[in-house]
Symmetry: C2
Subunit: 202 residues, 2 copies
């Protein structure tokens, strides 16, 4: 089965997005409301969720399951101290289950076998996150806390780029509450890698 389905809104190879329109200057010749004829405003999309390069098994083969679990737990410990923390269960046992499940996902995604999907089915991360509202700022915090985590657990530098290139666009797919017209801020590896390098030996 072909996963590429024709999308009629892409006629002529172009589509308008709210973020693009937001970045445009107001047009001087704009037509107003309530003229003599119906005035059709074009169809629109919101953000484009960028491609997600899922990592190879190199990370799992290098750091192993326990280190991945340590990473996910550390990340959650940091998250709980931020405003994103309110999205997690207050009950300690329920929280532990959420973190364990997340760790299972990371272990599997990095090459440690089907410990998540065999129990929970397909990850469908976007779908699983619908029950909590996640806005652009929540995603910024999630990613910033990962950056901190990767430094603190001394994630192997040779694999940082592959890991970052995955979680950075992946985190955008969890956004389900838009609060502005801005394009989603990217944090490309080229722009963030120096932060990992300068901390060496600290």
């Amino acid at each position: 089965m072909n996963t590429k389905i024709e999308n009629n809104s892409c006629q002529n190879g172009r589509i308008n997005s709210f973020t693009q329109v937001n970045q445009m200057q107001q047009r001087g010749d704009k037509r107003g409301f309530g003229g003599d004829e119906v005035r059709v405003v074009d169809s629109m999309i919101d953000i484009i969720y960028p491609p997600v390069p899922f990592p190879s098994n190199r990370i799992f083969n290098t750091i192993g399951e326990m280190k991945i679990r340590e990473m996910v737990e550390h990340h959650h410990t940091l998250l709980l101290k931020t405003k994103v923390g309110k999205l997690f269960p207050a009950n300690e046992e329920a929280l532990k289950m959420v973190i364990d499940k997340s760790a299972d996902f990371f272990v599997e995604a990095l090459g440690g076998g089907d410990i998540f999907t065999s129990v929970h089915g397909e990850p469908h991360l976007r779908m699983r996150h619908f029950k909590v509202p996640i806005d652009e700022q929540d995603r910024e915090i999630w990613l910033a806390m990962y950056k901190k985590t990767l430094k603190m657990i001394n994630f192997p530098k040779a694999h940082l780029e592959e890991f970052w290139n995955w979680i950075e666009p992946l985190s955008i797919r969890m956004i389900n509450r838009r609060t502005n017209m801005e394009a989603i801020k990217r944090h490309h590896w080229q722009e963030v890698k120096h932060e990992f390098m300068t901390r060496e030996g600290n």
Copy 2:
């Protein structure tokens, strides 16, 4: 200035959307996680906001400002009895200001002059609604209450189609909280018009 900006995600005239992927059957040959090489998952969009045909001045010229204000007030009275009501100010004076502002917008949009934009600037409806979370169900309620309103105020039948064709896609643009992968439900005039017709004389 040209409002049509090239969108690189429309390469080859196609783009994937979450709703389309959701409608697809699972592929049997799907590649799993953590293989020997990085596996790139395509870029994605969420919903496509359909074109919005803004009405001509025919409605204003027929029913006039007071009837439009009555309509907007009636709609809000109904909304306040639904779960959407919690999105409005509890304070009576603040609520009245919100309803008056909305009425100003409808009067202007239907051809009654720039009574909204001269005070508040460009409508930017999507932007103005960002401060409150509006999900798919809220939009269903908003639209259903308009349907009820149009019947109750005896909106002139000759102009119903033009009005409905405007508010139905317009309401989709206010959605800023996604809670599922489904395509947004359309309520095309052809499907709803019988509801207005059968009530005649009731």
